[in-house]
């Protein structure tokens, strides 16, 4: 199988880190630790595991941070090298036809195979740990106590674990508990947006928005836009103010229902006006009820502290690293700073009601009310037509172009960049990959049927594959 492998190589890490710092994100990829390799397929770690053939796999900001050497050293013990990155995955389960689960376009080649998106976090169930830890028992796999233990090598997610492989390949292994079926009418492009949208859904519910509140979304890359869509779906009576750097991001945010979109420099003034606050220097007398920081930099966190109201919430959605921020306002204004990592199970009826299995007096809530974050995310993606955020796809062979594009997506008018394994069929002879081609054709048909513009883009891609591959879809 082909896979992009992140190898253990300190010199390559050093070069990649230096290049990205000197010349910008993604600029060190050529000399960095990521390499396209032909490798054996990963072994099935145990019962409940099966092989998955990726169709599309997105490039996430956290992937870029890893490649750029910007990730926090905190994660050092939560990954195992070498690993295949890619945790935003839509793919086909091998052997699912035999199990008769799901179906795939009756009459089309590949009919009967399950097309799924992967819930990438690796909890107790995936690691064969029994009994499960108290977090996994409550559906909070993202907080699993055994992230570095059990049957698998350490790895907080598929895409960071040496045992499972990752989405940037032609094959990986997934546990049945990680798989979520995708409706037939949902395009592959839409499906690849489910995982980041699940992160957004989890963050929005953690933010506990109430009707009439003002939410500020800082950053309008793919994650920020997913947060906007999630707020408008889950808390439609919340006012949403978005700070977006680029013109196309501002337009997308408006299309997704943002009430006001401004440049990052204007976010303080806009928040002040919408909340009718007074201003004292850069800080406001009142402010936004919740701020969703979808960037995770020192600048955006400091900005969030400036615009959030006393006792307001700041939700860290984008992966932060080591940042230097003045926390005096956090202390003085009793601001709550919340992390929102990944996804698990949610109670959408009680947003902000935190289930804390680790607490002595844990109020477990109503287990029957909890639903998978992914199920909610699939709704959001379908409702908000988030497939439009997929701007370009690349074959694995052009990974350097893909990484550079993803790293400069904003300034190039793009949003989500993904690897496209549908075209790999021409280069392989395995039965499973042949089935991808059929599935892809079916997907193309469904896209054209239900999403005219996406379909036409896809059609253009197919007809002029070699020339268009890797170019902007928009």
């Amino acid at each position: 199988m082909k896979a992009l492998v992140l190898e253990r190589s300190l010199p390559r890490y050093a070069v990649s880190t230096a290049a990205s710092r000197l010349f910008g994100s993604g600029r060190g990829v050529h000399h960095g630790p990521l390499r396209l390799r032909t490798t054996p397929q990963p072994e099935l770690p145990g019962p409940g595991w099966c092989r998955l053939t990726p169709i599309l796999a997105g490039i996430c900001g956290s992937d870029l941070a890893t490649l750029d050497g910007r990730s926090s050293w905190y994660f050092e013990n939560f990954v195992s090298l070498p690993f295949v990155p890619g945790h935003e995955i839509v793919g086909l389960l091998e052997g699912s036809r035999e199990r008769g689960a799901g179906k795939r376009g009756a009459g089309a080649e590949g009919a009967g195979e399950r097309r799924v998106v992967v819930e990438s976090v690796l909890g107790c169930a995936t690691r064969g740990v029994a009994p499960q830890c108290k977090y996994c028992e409550h559906g909070l796999q993202q907080l699993c106590e055994h992230t570095a233990f059990g049957n698998l090598e350490p790895g907080l997610q598929t895409g960071y674990c040496a045992s499972t492989g990752g989405g940037w390949s032609t094959s990986l292994v997934v546990h049945e508990s990680q798989c979520h079926d995708i409706p037939d009418e949902m395009s592959d492009e839409a499906a690849v947006m489910v995982e980041p949208t699940a992160c957004a859904v989890h963050a929005v519910l953690a933010g506990g928005l109430a009707a009439g509140e003002l939410a500020v979304v800082s950053g309008a890359g793919a994650l920020g836009l997913c947060v906007v869509a999630a707020i408008k779906h889950l808390a439609p009576r919340t006012r949403v103010l978005v700070a977006a750097k680029y013109a196309h991001q501002r337009q997308l945010a408006k299309n997704l229902g943002a009430d006001l979109v401004v440049t990052p420099e204007a976010i303080g003034r806009a928040t002040r006006r919408l909340t009718e606050s007074l201003a004292l220097g850069r800080h406001l007398s009142n402010g936004a009820d919740a701020v969703f920081d979808c960037v995770g930099s020192a600048q955006t966190l400091a900005g969030a502290l400036e615009v959030v109201r006393p006792r307001g919430r700041i939700v860290l959605v984008g992966m932060p690293g080591a940042v230097k921020v003045d926390l005096a306002p956090l202390w003085h204004r009793e601001i709550r700073l919340l992390g929102a990592y990944a996804y698990g199970a949610e109670d959408p009826r009680s947003p902000g009601a935190s289930v804390d299995p680790g607490a002595r007096n844990n109020a477990a809530g109503d287990p029957a009310a909890r639903v998978s974050t992914f199920d909610l995310a699939i709704e959001v993606v379908a409702t908000a037509s988030l497939e439009s955020l997929v701007s370009a796809t690349y074959p694995l062979e052009r990974y350097e172009d893909a990484i550079r594009h993803a790293a400069t997506a904003g300034m190039r008018g793009s949003t989500k960049i993904a690897f496209d394994m549908r075209t790999v069929a021409a280069h392989t002879s395995t039965q499973s990959i042949q089935s991808i081609a059929g599935a892809s054709a079916s997907a193309s048909a469904s896209i054209q049927g239900s999403h005219g513009n996406v379909g036409s883009r896809h059609q253009r891609f197919s007809h002029n594959e070699s020339r268009n591959r890797g170019e902007l879809h928009t």
């Binding site: 006001l260 440049t263 009718e276 201003a279």
Partner: protein, 529 residues
């Protein structure tokens, strides 16, 4: 020798390049052959003894009013309101005409032993004047006598305790004005009628009013139905103010109106070339132009702005009349027209104009993009009687650098208006319906208006509403030499040269268009037949 009237010049191949104002600089542009240039009249003769003329006006009022001395008595409450820093432009060389008039009024008050006297700067929703601006307008003697004792105040349209609601007009318009002014035995209003739009009932009904009252005439519908603001008989803005003024009078508020007009002697000697026709420029004028242009071009924008903002006009007082409001204003308007009116035959396809560095709302600060729009579309476009200079669907070409720059002290709500409102829509009706109320009631803007030197939160809306008639009338607006992103935000088109702008305009009005250039300031009003 009597001053020459304004006139319309038609360019030919031998015509020299035409001077265009361009913010804190100038452009010399060669207009196409056959283009018309509307030049203002030369300054009328100034009154030789202004103080005596003022005294004479106070003792010989027009309309149904006794002389001022007959209205003054010991023990009375006397309030003297006066126009604020937005007039005249550029600021007048000392002594300012307000100083001369108010000193005369105070002399009479002293003779009548009136000791309860308060001066009020009639700001409406404008920014508060600085101490030096007040001192400049009133003179040291008045300032030092009144300001330290709290007897020189600035109207506060948000001070509910010092406002009084006098009732509703026949059209249901709230009339709410300054309580001290309304409850005085006599309100003397001292005005400077720089253009025909100023004065009359607008002085009190606007200058001393609250937002609750102002919103009835400062709105898009009224502005669109004022054609033009310089023609009181066809201006809904004035109709509304007149209804309010009459209600104020009927409520028992006794107003003694003193109106003054200035000639168009706008620029000091070193800038005299700005008032001359280009083919009449002397060697000295050419040298002045070159030296001034060279210095302004090379100076940092802030320095050039400061130099120009500090330039005071040698205006001469051309008339003064006092007494009953409407009778006074009728005479005043005639005097303004006598100075500024120019007969123009027919409309044009394309109207060009150069916008200067100053307008009523950026004294001492930056002319931000919203003020650029207002100066061109709100004021200069409306300098007409009869019909606009440009035909319906025609194009207005303005020359101004239009920087994306704002004064955060004077214009805080302008920044938000530009960033958060114009980014959504430029339609005045939509803006009024969706945004005005929240800006007008914003406590932060109100705080800055009341305690700092900020224009009221709603003020940028009014600037945009002033443009409503032009926006409705024109086919396109092009700004030459402007910051492209700022111009686009305004909803206009940006051109790097006049030639490009004319090419762009032809796309709208067709080939071989008629072109007219408004050579102003100095100010002029075109009576278009």
């Amino acid at each position: 020798m009597s001053p020459r009237p304004g006139f319309v010049f038609e360019t030919d191949r031998s015509s020299p390049a035409t001077l265009f104002w361009h913010g804190e600089g100038f452009r010399l542009e060669k207009l196409p052959t056959g283009a018309r240039i509307v030049y203002p009249p030369e300054p009328v003769e100034a009154l030789t003894d202004p103080v005596a003329q003022i005294r004479g006006a106070l003792e010989n009022p027009v309309g149904d009013s006794p002389p001022l001395s007959a209205l003054l008595r010991a023990g009375m409450r006397l309030t003297i309101a006066f126009d604020d820093v937005s007039l005249p432009l550029p600021p007048m060389r000392s002594p300012d005409v307000r100083q001369l008039v108010i000193e005369s009024v105070l002399d009479l008050a002293a003779e009548a032993s009136v000791d309860d006297v308060v001066l009020i700067a009639a700001l409406a929703l404008h920014r508060r004047m600085t101490a030096s601006e007040l001192r400049h307008a009133l003179g040291d003697r008045i300032y030092d006598a009144f300001a330290p004792n709290g007897l020189l105040v600035q109207h506060d349209a948000e001070d509910q305790a010092n406002l009084v609601h006098l009732g509703l007009t026949t059209e249901g318009e709230d009339v709410e004005i300054n309580k001290r002014a309304a409850t005085s035995d006599l309100l003397v209003y001292v005005n400077i009628n720089l253009v025909a739009m100023d004065g009359g009932h607008k002085s009190v009904a606007t200058g001393l009013a609250s937002y609750r009252s102002l919103r009835h005439h400062h709105n898009v519908r009224t502005m669109q139905h004022s054609r033009s603001f310089m023609d009181q008989e066809h201006s809904e803005l004035h109709s509304s103010n007149w209804r309010m003024g009459r209600l104020i009078a009927a409520s028992g508020v006794k107003v003694f109106q003193i109106e003054t007009t200035l000639n168009t002697n706008t620029f000091p000697d070193q800038f005299r070339f700005l008032e001359r026709r280009e083919w009449e420029w002397s060697l000295k004028d050419r040298a002045s132009f070159l030296a001034t242009s060279f210095a302004l071009e090379r100076a940092p924008a802030g320095v050039a702005r400061k130099v120009l903002q500090r330039t005071c006009s040698p205006y001469g007082l051309s008339s003064v009349q006092a007494g009953e409001v409407e009778a006074v204003h009728a005479v005043t308007t005639e005097n303004v027209y006598r100075q500024q009116l120019v007969e123009v035959e027919g409309q044009t396809d394309i109207l060009t104009m150069g916008l200067p560095y100053i307008c009523p709302y950026n004294v001492g600060s930056i002319m931000n993009p919203i003020l650029v729009a207002c100066t061109g579309l709100g004021y200069m476009f409306n300098m007409y009687l009869g019909k606009p200079l440009v035909r319906p669907g025609g194009v207005l070409i303005m020359s101004h650098p239009t920087p994306w720059a704002f004064d955060p002290v004077y214009h805080p709500s302008y920044i938000d208006f530009f960033e958060q409102v114009l980014s959504e829509t430029t339609d005045p009706f939509e803006i009024e319906a969706n945004f005005e109320e929240s800006f007008a009631r914003d406590p932060w803007y109100i705080h800055l208006y009341r305690t700092g030197h900020a224009y009221h939160g709603v003020h940028p809306f009014y600037m945009w509403y002033w443009c409503a008639h032009a926006l409705d009338h024109l086919g396109a607006v092009v700004i030459v030499g402007g910051d492209r992103s700022a111009v686009r935000r305004l909803g206009f088109k940006a051109a790097s040269s006049l030639g490009d702008a004319l090419e762009m305009a032809e796309d709208v009005v067709g080939r071989h268009p008629s072109i007219t250039h408004l050579h102003s300031p100095p100010l002029l009003v075109a009576r278009v037949s």
